[in-house]
């Protein structure tokens, strides 16, 4: 089956998945018999009774659930995802999402680069020097990272690199927010670093990078350990294969054997993992954004859920489901280029 046929097949399945997710979340957000009245987030105290009834009618909360869902799907297909609650001063849900999504993208990209840049070499070194000191050190780092509560680690970084560095007069890193000088630069991409570069305002960019370091590293530390373990396991597996013995018997230098022969095979599982991690990060590392009050989508969704704002929750979960499914598809497609034996 040629690649494009496989992609079409996966896209059809994706629609099914998205449909499933939207059904579940819609029921949870609106239909579920909970204390909170679905209209609550969309009205503010000073509204009169008929105004509330009017808001209820506009949002269609008075309709039976399946009709609400039908309208919601019809509007969604037209790109109208309804408005957010009072907490985000009733702007369009899609605008609220898109305005803060670039921040999460920037944070995720930074985190994934750190994870890959540290995780993979760590994994390879600990595979090559198996059961010797570097292996044990990397195993401890990996397992500690894997067992660290994300918010706790965020605080530790803040405590040490911000608070104590401040007290001890050392150059400290900012511990919250995405950039110190709001609005100094016209928003082009929504990502502070890129906007700073576009505007040529180097100082703004540097400040944005400074803000990025702590949250990105806090995210990366948790996933780089896991990635290192996977790369170590698959590299050990590959180094036991016969074609490595043949490569060595050809008289190739050990370095060449590892980088030309072993690397390509060993990194295949790492691709899957990186894909999944990136998708999860794009979903907005909710806690890290909350701890570093990074204006990303994760923090927003937290607030939305507290308010019970079903429109924004629906937009957020659908977007995340889309990202995860596309990430899985991208990983499978990368497989074809990495491993010629795989034919869909």
């Amino acid at each position: 089956m040629k690649l494009y046929q496989y992609v079409i097949r996966r896209l059809i399945l994706m629609i099914f998945v998205l449909f499933g997710v939207s059904l579940i979340v819609f029921y949870l957000a609106r239909g579920f018999p909970t204390g909170i009245d679905p209209v609550a987030p969309y009205i503010h105290a000073r509204m009169t009774a008929e105004q509330i009834a009017e808001v209820r009618r506009i949002h269609g909360f008075d309709q039976p659930l399946y009709i609400q869902y039908f309208y919601w799907v019809r509007d969604a297909l037209k790109g109208d995802f309804g408005t957010t609650g009072v907490w985000a001063n009733s702007r369009l849900a899609i605008d609220v999402f898109l305005s803060s999504f670039p921040y999460t993208v920037q944070l995720s990209v930074a985190a994934i680069i750190l994870t890959v840049a540290i995780g993979i070499p760590l994994g390879i070194i600990s595979a090559i020097k198996n059961n010797r000191l570097p292996d044990h050190i990397s195993r401890i780092i990996a397992l500690t990272g894997y067992s660290t509560p994300s918010y706790w680690f965020g605080f530790m970084l803040q405590l040490v690199f911000f608070y104590y560095f401040l007290i001890w007069g050392l150059p400290h890193l900012p511990s919250s927010g995405a950039s110190g000088m709001e609005g100094a630069v016209p928003l082009v991409t929504g990502m502070p670093i890129l906007d700073g570069l576009f505007a040529g305002n180097l100082e703004y960019t540097l400040d944005a990078i400074a803000h990025l370091i702590l949250p990105a590293f806090s995210l990366a530390f948790i996933s780089l350990g896991f990635l290192a373990r996977i790369v170590r396991a698959s590299m050990l597996e590959v180094l036991r294969q016969d074609y490595i013995t043949l490569a060595r018997s050809k008289g190739l230098k050990e370095r060449v054997v590892i980088y030309r022969h072993a690397m390509k095979n060993a990194l295949i599982p790492a691709v899957t993992l990186t894909g999944i991690f990136f998708a999860m990060l794009l979903g907005g590392a909710m806690i890290t954004e909350y701890v570093f009050n990074w204006p990303g989508v994760g923090r927003l969704s937290l607030l939305a859920v507290f308010q019970g704002d079903s429109n924004f929750i629906l937009v957020y979960t659908l977007a995340l489901a889309l990202i995860v499914v596309i990430a899985n598809l991208a990983v499978d497609i990368v497989y074809v280029f990495l491993d010629p034996r795989i034919k869909y």
Partner: protein, 370 residues
């Protein structure tokens, strides 16, 4: 009937016991696993005894000790009576009667005692969630792997939906809607935690199914427990007595017999699959699930406490590690010990089980085992 051959091992259990001892031998050789298992054991024992060592109603916050308003911080004494570390810039010293090793929390309760009380709560959650999620996921994965075809495709798609679901969002939505209670949080985490087990088990079953010992069992006709054979024979005997009468009217009996045979056929087929599945394949593919469950144990504690941290705990004074941490969130810079030590306990518990899980993976992997 003791045979006299020198080393004859009598029971079937002796052989299995030797195999188990060999696994323990491999475990002992790995220092990290050893450390991990001791730590894990320590926490398990601690969580069993916690409510006896420390009086649980200490957790109920009494009024504030006389401290003239403001946040009643006791100067925390670290580690030894004589020596203390000033944790904050201007923490007011309160000559508290006792001596708090790790300082106090928001309600003036001794943090060390609260952590000890919190451990059983967390461990209990972790055990329940991991057990239910792994068993549910494993069964579904076995069905998908063994049945194949449409069933496999359907189960995979459902798992994809839950995979695509952000863990925390479902939990948040649940907790927000259901109101904040521990069972709802558990349900939320379970709902998101079972998909990886489906994929893991399905992969195992698919690879095990192809092995030739499964084919050998099919060749043995490993289907029909002998009781079935007897019932079926007796049924044939009875039937032959009636059917030969074969007056025209009894023709419908022939159809009846064919239907029964059809049903028995399907039962025999099902019997074979079940026997092969449960007596052989499951036994050989259960180990990676065991490893994954141990690794997940720590992960579940972290997720559960993360939810608590985000403010979904039923009552702010519940002695739970995430709760204690969230209590320290507002005073992170002037009373960091709250956040530091509750987070550190979580880390150590999770690390303990992860060390054991990591070691188990190497030991139980058939390729590395020899």
């Amino acid at each position: 009937m003791k045979s006299n051959s020198a080393k004859a091992r009598t029971g079937e259990w002796k052989a299995r016991w030797a195999d188990f001892k060999y696994t323990l031998y491999l475990l002992r050789r790995n220092p990290l696993v050893l450390a991990g298992s001791f730590m894990a054991l320590f926490f398990i024992i601690l969580s069993l005894l916690a409510n006896y060592i420390i009086d649980p109603n200490l957790a109920i916050p009494t009024g504030y000790p006389e401290s003239g308003g403001g946040y009643p911080f006791h100067r925390s004494y670290m580690w030894s009576k004589g020596h203390f570390i000033n944790w904050g810039p201007d923490v007011r010293l309160h000559e508290g009667p006792e001596f708090f090793y790790l300082g106090t929390d928001g309600w003036g309760r001794d943090l060390l005692k609260m952590i000890i009380l919190a451990i059983p709560v967390d461990m209990e959650n972790a055990i329940i969630i991991t057990l239910i999620a792994s068993i549910f996921g494993t069964l579904l994965g076995t069905l998908a792997g063994y049945a194949g075809g449409v069933v496999d495709e359907a189960i995979l798609r459902v798992t994809d939906i839950f995979f695509a679901f952000p863990a925390l969002v479902l939990a948040l939505v649940f907790a927000a809607m259901f109101g904040r209670s521990i069972p709802t949080l558990r349900l939320a985490i379970i709902l998101v935690w079972w998909p990886p087990y489906v994929r893991l088990m399905r992969g195992q079953i698919l690879s095990e199914k192809e092995k030739s010992y499964v084919e050998a069992l099919k060749a043995l006709g490993a289907a029909y427990p002998k009781t079935f054979i007897r019932i079926q024979e007796r049924f044939d005997v009875v039937f032959d007595k009636i059917v030969p009468l074969r007056a025209g009217r009894l023709r419908f009996l022939l159809i009846f017999q064919r239907v029964i045979n059809g049903i028995l056929d399907q039962l025999a087929l099902l019997g074979m699959h079940l026997r092969i599945l449960f007596r052989h394949i499951l036994l050989n593919s259960i180990y990676p699930v065991l490893v994954q469950a141990t690794l997940d144990f720590g992960g579940v504690i972290l997720t559960f406490s993360a939810l608590m941290f985000l403010g979904f705990s039923p009552s702010p004074s519940l002695p739970e590690l995430g709760n204690l941490a969230s209590d320290g969130y507002s005073h992170v810079f002037d009373a960091p010990w709250l956040m530091v030590f509750s987070g550190l306990t979580m880390l150590i518990i999770a690390l303990a089980f992860n060390l054991v899980g990591d070691g188990l993976r190497d030991v139980l992997d058939p390729k590395l085992r020899r």
